[in-house]
């Protein structure tokens, strides 16, 4: 057994204003996941269903910030993770959700819940359980310090693997041509 080997690094992941595409791309590392779980164990993540992030070595954030809850989760990750990684276009620059930024929030809510065809009696949801939307969508580096970025929509499994293996080996992560993509 590997009982005497180094303690495993703890990794947490989450999706904020994202589509889970980056998490799907992470799963695209396929059988390399078996190598990965020899080196790391997961804390809060859609893979574990743990609800709050505890002390971790690496936090991986998919998605930008479009509501108040996103900001709370991001701060929880930053407070608990030694190294924080932004993964994917939405975390890095706001991505698709940020395409609403040139519209007023009021006009968007109006359009989505009132004005559109078939919504005559619609109302804007105001249950206190619902996190309040932010006026604008922001990439995560505008709110907390981010240590590393993996751009791409989504980044390829190979790009994610490269950054993770660089970090696990104590190297400065580097992507280079073919792995660095913004699309």
């Amino acid at each position: 057994m590997e009982a005497a080997t180094k303690p495993k690094l703890r990794v947490a992941t989450t999706s904020l204003a994202g589509c889970f595409g980056c998490h799907m791309s992470f799963l695209d590392i396929d059988e390399r996941l078996f190598d990965l779980v020899k080196l790391v164990e997961f804390d809060r993540s859609p893979l574990t269903d743990i609800k709050h992030c505890g002390p971790c070595d690496i936090g991986i954030i998919e998605g930008g910030l479009c509501n108040a809850e996103n900001v709370h989760v991001l701060r929880e990750f930053r407070a608990n993770c030694k190294t924080l990684i932004a993964i994917g276009a939405c975390a890095v620059n706001g991505g698709l959700p940020a395409q609403r930024n040139h519209l007023s929030l009021a006009s968007i809510l109006e359009e989505v819940y009132h004005a559109q065809h078939g919504l005559v009696d619609g109302f804007i949801p105001n249950d206190p359980e619902l996190p309040l939307p932010l006026d604008k969508v922001h990439p995560i580096h505008e709110v907390v310090k981010v240590d590393y970025f993996i751009p791409g929509c989504p980044p390829s499994g190979d790009a994610i693997w490269k950054v993770l293996t660089d970090l696990l080996a104590g190297r400065e992560p580097e992507l280079g041509h073919g792995l660095i993509h913004y699309d």
Binding site: A86, A89, V92, N93, G94, G95, L96, A98, Q99, N101, H102, K136, H138, P139, H141, E142, V146, Y148, F149, I150, P151, C153, E174, L175, G176, H177, G178, I180, H181, Y182, D183
Partner: protein
């Protein structure tokens, strides 16, 4: 500085000897020798504009735009250094946050010089806070659309329309951070100009502003020019799809 008349004049670029002809700029001579210096507003077919500063090098220890600085015999030029590339990356990051560059939905992605130059400079994040400006698209023309969200104010369309097409369809207006591209029509709309798809101005935009309608994604993302090879390996990166 005496030159042997049988030998072409030359200067040194990152330790490499680059021959040049009288009147050539540093970037022209470097390009002719197959050496890449990052650039955005320079296009070998046009007079230099000297505005983006991506091509900044150190010539004899002083920073200068290599697209406007004439080559001189014996000059010692540095370009591919950490210091200059760090500054180039910062310029690129500013260009990204000043506009709206959502590459996944941009028809130019993979053929875009801004994006490819950012890849070349290992730009992993925009670093600065985004402006998220509001710049409506001009879709008035039957065949072409203008997505101002991606304009980097390189003035290539201005130069092409004025100097090659003889039409003056485009101009840069305003100053400093307020500089923006305008269309010379009373309405401000492309449809109300004599712009045509046969114009040189329709071919020169290094980013995804001036786009032909109805040719979207003829070549899939991932198979486009700078997906195949980095911009530094592309001798003349002026490439327009569609």
């Amino acid at each position: 500085m005496s030159q042997n008349n049988n030998q072409p004049a030359s200067f040194e670029l990152d330790g490499k000897t680059i021959p040049f002809q009288a009147g050539q700029t540093i970037i022209q001579a470097a390009m002719a020798a197959g050496v890449y210096i990052p650039h955005l507003c320079f296009n070998p077919e046009f007079k230099p504009h000297g505005s983006c500063k991506l091509c900044t090098v150190k010539a004899n220890g002083r920073q200068t735009a290599s697209c406007t600085q004439q080559a001189q015999a014996g000059m010692v030029v540095e370009s591919d250094t950490k210091e200059l590339n760090d500054e180039r990356r910062a310029l690129l990051q500013m260009l990204f946050v000043e506009g709206n560059h959502f590459c996944p939905s941009c028809e130019k992605s993979g053929n875009c010089q801004l994006q490819a130059t950012a890849y070349e400079m290992d730009m992993m994040s925009p670093h600065f806070d985004h402006f998220f400006p509001d710049r409506p698209v001009d879709a008035s023309h039957a065949e072409y659309l203008l997505d101002f969200n991606r304009c980097i104010l390189c003035s290539l369309c201005v130069r092409a329309s004025r100097d090659v097409d003889g039409k003056n369809v485009f101009a840069l207006s305003g100053r400093g951070i307020k500089t923006h591209l305008i269309v010379n029509a009373r309405s401000g709309h492309l449809a109300d100009t004599d712009f045509s798809g046969a114009d040189k101005a329709a071919q020169v935009c290094p980013v995804g502003v001036i786009l032909k309608k109805r040719v979207g994604f003829a070549v899939p993302i991932g198979e486009r020019s700078f997906d195949q090879q980095p911009i530094s390996a592309t001798p003349h990166p002026m490439k327009q799809e569609g």
